[in-house]
């Protein structure tokens, strides 16, 4: 028995490769996910809209060259997104733009009842923003976007082993940093 969502996606991709006007279905399917990811990185609506436009335009133009490697189509979109976000901020000086804009109000109502735990989550995500860019991106894709290692590898243009190393280093560094920042009880 086939994996029907996956087959559905393959069908949509095949159609869009044959006829770019069919790309609309892929757009409808992935817009929200990609926009949310972009917004989480740029933290500003206009910027998120610009980057999202760029991603889908690039994807549309590159559709004829898209090769199905067995990974989800979204992994490929994430790859374009990671590059677009990096391009956007690569040349900006004097400071990395994202550190100041990580949303600390993301804890939901349920977590408000667990102030200490929430605080710990806040701190850990603040520390994520201070990680080296590659480690940070790997952690965001893994823990925020809930992607598989193999898909992150596609998105970041790395091997799965390299992604694992980035995640391990990132998490280890967070553990070390979190210890040093943990408030006295």
């Amino acid at each position: 028995m086939s994996d029907s969502p996956r087959d559905d996606e393959r069908e949509l991709v095949d159609r869009a490769k044959r006829d770019p006007r069919q790309f609309g279905a892929l757009y409808d399917r992935h817009f929200q996910q990609i926009y949310r990811f972009v917004y989480s990185r740029v933290r500003e609506q206009t910027a998120a809209e610009d980057v999202t436009s760029e991603i889908f335009m690039k994807a549309l133009k590159a559709m004829p060259r898209y090769q199905d490697t067995g990974r989800p189509f979204a992994a490929w979109l994430y790859q374009i997104a990671v590059n677009a976000i990096a391009d956007r901020y690569r040349t900006l000086r004097p400071t990395s733009p994202l550190e100041d804009f990580h949303d600390l109000s993301i804890a939901g109502p349920a977590l408000e009842e667990q102030a200490a735990h929430r605080d710990e989550i806040r701190r850990i995500w603040v520390l994520v923003e201070a990680l080296p860019p590659q480690q940070k991106m790997a952690l965001v894709l893994k823990f925020q976007e809930d992607m598989k290692i193999e898909d992150i590898a596609v998105a970041m243009g790395k091997t799965a082993g390299a992604v694992k190393l980035l995640i391990h280093r990132g998490v280890s560094r967070l553990r070390d940093e979190a210890d040093s920042l943990r408030p006295a009880e």
Partner: protein, 722 residues
Amino acid sequence: MSMQHDPDLDDILQDQELRHVADLLRAAPVAAPPIDDAFRSSLRRQLMNQAWGMGGGVPWWRKAFGPSTFVWATAAVGVILIGVVVVLTANNPSGSLDQVYVTSPISNQSAVRLQQPIQVMFNQPMDHPSTEAAVQITPATTVAFSWHENTLSVTPTAGNLAPNTQYQVTIGPGAKTASGQSLAAPKTITFVTAPPPSPSPSPSPSPSPSPRGVLTGQHLLVSLPEGVTNVQWSPDSSTVYFITGKGALESVPAAGGDATVLVPDGVTSLSVNPAGDHLAYVRKGNIEVLALGTATTVETVPTSTPAIVGWAPAGVQWAAADGVFTVGPNGLVKIAALPNTGTMTPISFSPDGSHMVFTLDQSLQLMDLATAKSIAVGQPGAHFFGWSPDSTGILYSSAQSVVLADVGGRYTSSLPAGDPSWSVQDEILLGSDTALSEVRPDGSGETMLQEGTFHNPAWAPNGTTFTYFRGGALFAASAPAAPPAAAPLDAANSVVSSFMKARKDNDVARATQYLDDKGKKSYSGSLNLLVTGDPSFSRYYVLTQEITGSHPDTVQVVVRIVLSHDNIDISTYEETLTLVRTQGSQQFLIDDASAGPLLTLGKSAEVVSVDVSSGTVKVTFDSDLKPETVVAGVIVLDDKGKQIGGTAVYTSTNRTVTISGLDLKPGKTYKLVVLPTVQDVGGNNIAAEYDLTFVGPADEHGDKHRQESPSPSPPASPTPTP
């Protein structure tokens, strides 16, 4: 607490603590971002339009009726239709067209005047209530509406638009025509406003349109068929010395009169000593020093024929092919060796005798006689024009202008082309075939004094009289007192404008010319001179500026750099520039620079201008604010973090918050803080706390020198030559 199991991480995170961190990372819910459905559908439309253009596997009938083919196929029909529409429109002046068009004369304009309504023009009569209700304006601004035919005027109730602000005025789809038709899509008009007006006019930056004709006492000094060279003034400005074409050394009273022959022949170089009682000159291969009081001459026989002679504190010195020499207690002393390869020609000693200019082949060389080291100045073929009276600067030619540099060879400014002479009052005369002009060493305040031929002007030490050549004869005249020098803020702002313009033009070489050595270091680290990438550097404005020191004049300027994408401001950061007036040229150069964090521009109020005086800080916002949120939301802290000054007062007419009752000490550091509790009239809080660190203004200049962001047109922008 253990979260969901992820087999992906089993072999990566085997340590319990690492898994705990991973659980925490996974536990943060992702906030739902704000999604504009209009954007989502608009992007889809764009993609589909793009897809149509890409074709690919499209049946023939679809291609035939697809956009590109269809355009050609229907072009002729289109022409006919246009004709029909023109006829119909001519017969239907009310313009009841299917499509509603919205335009504005200030759409995509920059430096839009603050005192004007935003005019929105429609191509047909509109339903006023629905159209007014559909108007959205950012930043948050309370507005009033008025109509004239099909034009809607949107006027801020505050009176003026906010300065340095990008406005976006959107007419939403809720707007209806008089016949009840809605807009097909929202239409947004974007523009950027001008800086706030400068409170005091700056000195005119450009040459006076007509000559002032203010030279006085023009008179002939000497006219000889064989010509005159080596014109020199006595230190008391009473006498002019010169060498005739026949080699005679003569003098003439500056006020006019008969010339006196001091040395009958053989003289080729001349220098008056600082006291004015001795003349040194080269005569027939020897150095002679004439004591004017006694008319006695002392002759020195050099080792080779001197080319030029001058005076140093130790006495007379000269340059010859084998070096620079002086006379010591025990005879000749070689001060410095000169190059013995290529063609070396000594040109001039500085007035204090510390430096010398010579040419080596095509290269103009500046030598520090204390170290005997020389550097090339200018491009090959550059000509030496003269020294600053204090010997700290030199003037030389470039292709199209006169260049000023310090005696380290560092460029400081450039002036229009001409024959220059630099006065002790830091005014530079520029003579030419057609006119005589006056300009300050930083290039500002250029003023035409008189039309006519004025070659090789030479200021007298008194700074009011000068000589010049016309038709081979030597004349003298007096120039009026120069207009007041540009105030430090104006002069510094001129440099900042030129510097930022060079950066915006991606011209590193030009931008670098406004940096001193320390300033260059500031931009060699984390700060970049060029701001590249997307969003791109679209504009800048001066947020605040103040005089922070004197002796030398020091000005601190905070420049806000705005980055945009598709003409929409995306983000901004501030650079704090410290400018110091250099000795010699008197031009301000950037001595230090630092940058603040990148700030994303959102939909909440932004600070667009800050005016600091010793007793008051005024903060201008781009949005109309809720006054009740301002009192506790805009504060000034001293260097210990203690709040100082009185209660903030909000003036709605200029969107300005004023904190008075301050006693800011010169040189002390203070911080302006705008807290997120401040709200605009739309109820939006400031996105994040805004901090601006500033220094207590200098005592000497008082409030009169502090001003809000200056006019965008820079006063006297010097044009440096690489």
